[in-house]
């Protein structure tokens, strides 16, 4: 079934309010990407989200939207803090899945080691793949500290330093975390997996700055042309999955009692102002903090491997965390709706926060230029660094896209890769790749994703974030 959309301008389409929808949908996309979006059920999902109680303004879709379960991936929805709902399906299973980017003082020319050696060392030293376990074994008492402290716990253990915390969304910690709300199963799964990358689309990437679009902001971010950068993508591992799964089960029961008629059971939710709603919000925060600690540890290991392989001192490498963003989360934020400031619960499922210059939650370093936004593309093309804008605050509850978004299913990607040596194709483009899972490389091949540049052109053109720099991958390690 094709859902009719009304074109607003070159970057915005309206999904008109019909049936049980409480608000319209707004899709940020381009004419060329619209066809892919219309061919799957993602638009129906945008409409479904618009039926949930307390939704404000519109059910939003970023240009990397694709079919999810319940909420679409690339979906943003804000609910009134007093009269709205919270939904685990609006956050996703991998709670606080996110990206961090670090800069170095090196340029490509100054690297002494071969990229092959670097790829091998990263692959050997950073645990990745299905169910991978790390070298950190936590007692339950210590694990609960991870859950309440997030990045701070990792820094206290010697993984990175205090500057990293300043350059992490929310300072790497949601203060409302309550470990007593988390199941024994989640604790059990979380104990063994801290400091591990995971599988699938999670990765480590050594890249180089290829293009600078905005020299002033780039300078504030510490970026320059030819610079070597480090990027990583990971989340809360089995811990976050278990938290999501546990609360979905609870809310599936709870929502029946509320008498909310859901178009899809995966949209199970609770009112924010209820025990069930707040319990999820506070348990989700535990998983968010776990993910921040995890990425903090992974970046530290990444740093150690580089020092060793390049045979260089920390001072000469001069690695600095540019920023860490989360893209699967529900946050309590202040936004202006119909001229008045409201507390709202913004669900970003496969979407990134995009706060403008001057926002009070930004650290001093970025206050003048806006929040850094990190958009990884597929492993063969490019990643982008963007900055947050006032338009995002006005239109999208301070949100923008999160990545390229899949166009081929994993199965279709495997089929498309038959008879091809993907790693060789990448090598010909100057990209060295290593992977752990037996079908990871085929499933994650560049053809499986939308063109990240097209996605970024939409958010830049619509003004919900602006281009700062483009990075080209040199070494990619996949789980």
């Amino acid at each position: 079934m094709t859902i009719q959309l009304n074109k607003i301008d070159d970057y915005r389409w309206e999904l008109p309010k019909t049936g049980a929808m409480r608000v319209p949908g707004i899709i940020y996309t381009s004419a060329s990407m619209l066809k892919d979006i219309q061919s799957e059920d993602a638009l129906k999902q945008v409409a479904n989200v618009a039926t949930l109680p307390g939704i404000l303004k519109a059910s939003l879709a970023m240009p990397d939207i694709h079919w999810g379960y319940g909420f679409p991936i690339g979906g943003v929805a804000a609910f009134d803090w007093d009269s709205g709902i919270i939904s685990p399906g609006g956050v996703g299973y991998d709670i606080n899945c996110g990206v961090r980017l670090a800069t170095t003082s090196l340029t490509k020319k100054e690297i002494s080691a071969t990229f092959d050696n670097l790829a091998n060392a990263l692959n050997q030293n950073i645990p990745s793949g299905v169910g991978s376990t790390g070298s950190i074994k936590l007692s339950e008492k210590e694990e609960k500290k991870v859950l309440t402290e997030g990045s701070r716990w990792a820094v206290r253990q010697g993984f990175g330093d205090n500057a990293d915390i300043m350059h992490t969304e929310d300072g790497g910690c949601m203060p409302n975390a309550d470990p007593d709300l988390v199941s024994q199963r989640a604790l059990e799964r979380g104990k063994k997996q801290l400091g591990t990358l995971g599988s699938g689309n999670h990765f480590l990437e050594v890249g180089t700055v290829e293009t600078i679009y905005d020299p002033v902001v780039a300078q504030a971010f510490g970026l320059f042309k030819g610079q070597i950068t480090l990027m990583l993508h990971s989340g809360s591992r089995g811990f976050g999955y278990q938290v999501c799964d546990d609360f979905l089960a609870k809310m599936a029961k709870h929502v029946k009692k509320l008498g909310i008629d859901l178009p899809d059971r995966q949209l199970a939710c609770a009112m924010l102002q209820s025990k069930e709603g707040m319990n999820y919000f506070n348990a989700m925060a535990c998983a968010a903090n776990y993910a921040w600690a995890n990425r903090q540890i992974l970046m530290h290991k990444f740093h150690e491997v580089l020092l060793k392989v390049f045979n260089i001192s920390p001072r000469d490498l001069d690695m600095n965390l540019l920023f860490d963003v989360c893209h699967n989360i529900a946050k309590k934020e202040v936004h202006t709706v119909e001229g008045k400031e409201h507390f709202v619960c913004v669900h970003r499922k496969g979407a990134t926060r995009s706060f403008p210059p001057g926002h009070k939650l930004l650290c001093d370093k970025y206050k003048a230029v806006g929040q850094p936004i990190l958009i990884p593309g597929d492993m063969g093309s490019a990643s982008y660094v963007l900055a947050g804008t006032e338009t995002a605050m006005k239109e999208t509850f301070g949100s923008t896209c999160h990545g390229a978004g899949r166009v081929l299913s994993r199965h279709a990607a495997k089929k498309a890769s038959k008879g091809r040596a993907i790693y060789r194709e990448l090598e010909d483009r100057g990209i060295i790749v290593r992977w752990t899972g037996r079908s990871t490389l085929a499933e994650e091949m560049p053809d499986a994703y939308k063109n990240v540049s097209e996605v970024v052109e939409v958010v830049h053109g619509a003004g919900i974030s602006k281009k700062v720099a483009k990075l080209k991958p040199l070494v990619v390690v996949k789980g």
Partner: protein
């Protein structure tokens, strides 16, 4: 065990068929592990009895699969065979045969991270308005 793969852009699902409901629930469990591992390499050396509750057939199906998926994701146990001992719309009791995961011996084909409620269906099949068994549709997060 009879099932078909549902291929979605971001995720993966199965259409499972059973002659009756017991067969359907057993097939769904075996299908999930057929996706995860090469079950021919399993012996089913250990036994475990599992009891699962649900509010209706679809809810029971999700809860059942989520429980046995936890045995893998949480306890590293791989399912070889299932015998459904008793089944109603609200409760299932099953005998499971499984092996503990040994990395050198067993294969992990894909990672199934969760069983979702998304588009969950458990339906009676009618063929020429006569009963033709049962089918279920389940979407996994991978």
């Amino acid at each position: 065990m009879s099932y078909k793969l549902i291929d979605h852009t971001a995720d993966l699902g199965i259409n499972v068929f059973g002659a009756d409901l017991k067969d359907l629930f057993a097939s769904a469990a075996c299908a999930m592990f057929d996706l995860i591992t090469d079950t021919d390499r399993l012996e089913g050396s250990r036994e475990h009895v599992l009891k699962v509750a649900g509010d209706d057939w679809p809810d029971l199906m999700v809860n059942w699969l989520r429980e046995i998926l936890y045995l893998w994701n949480g306890k590293e146990m791989l399912l070889k065979a299932v015998k459904i001992l008793s089944l109603s719309e609200y409760e299932l009791i099953a005998n499971l045969r499984f092996d503990n995961f040994v990395p050198d011996r067993h294969l992990v084909k894909i990672e199934i991270k969760a069983v979702t409620y998304h588009q969950i269906q458990v339906n009676k099949i009618q063929i020429n308005s006569r009963p033709g068994g049962w089918e279920a549709k389940i979407i996994f997060d991978v």
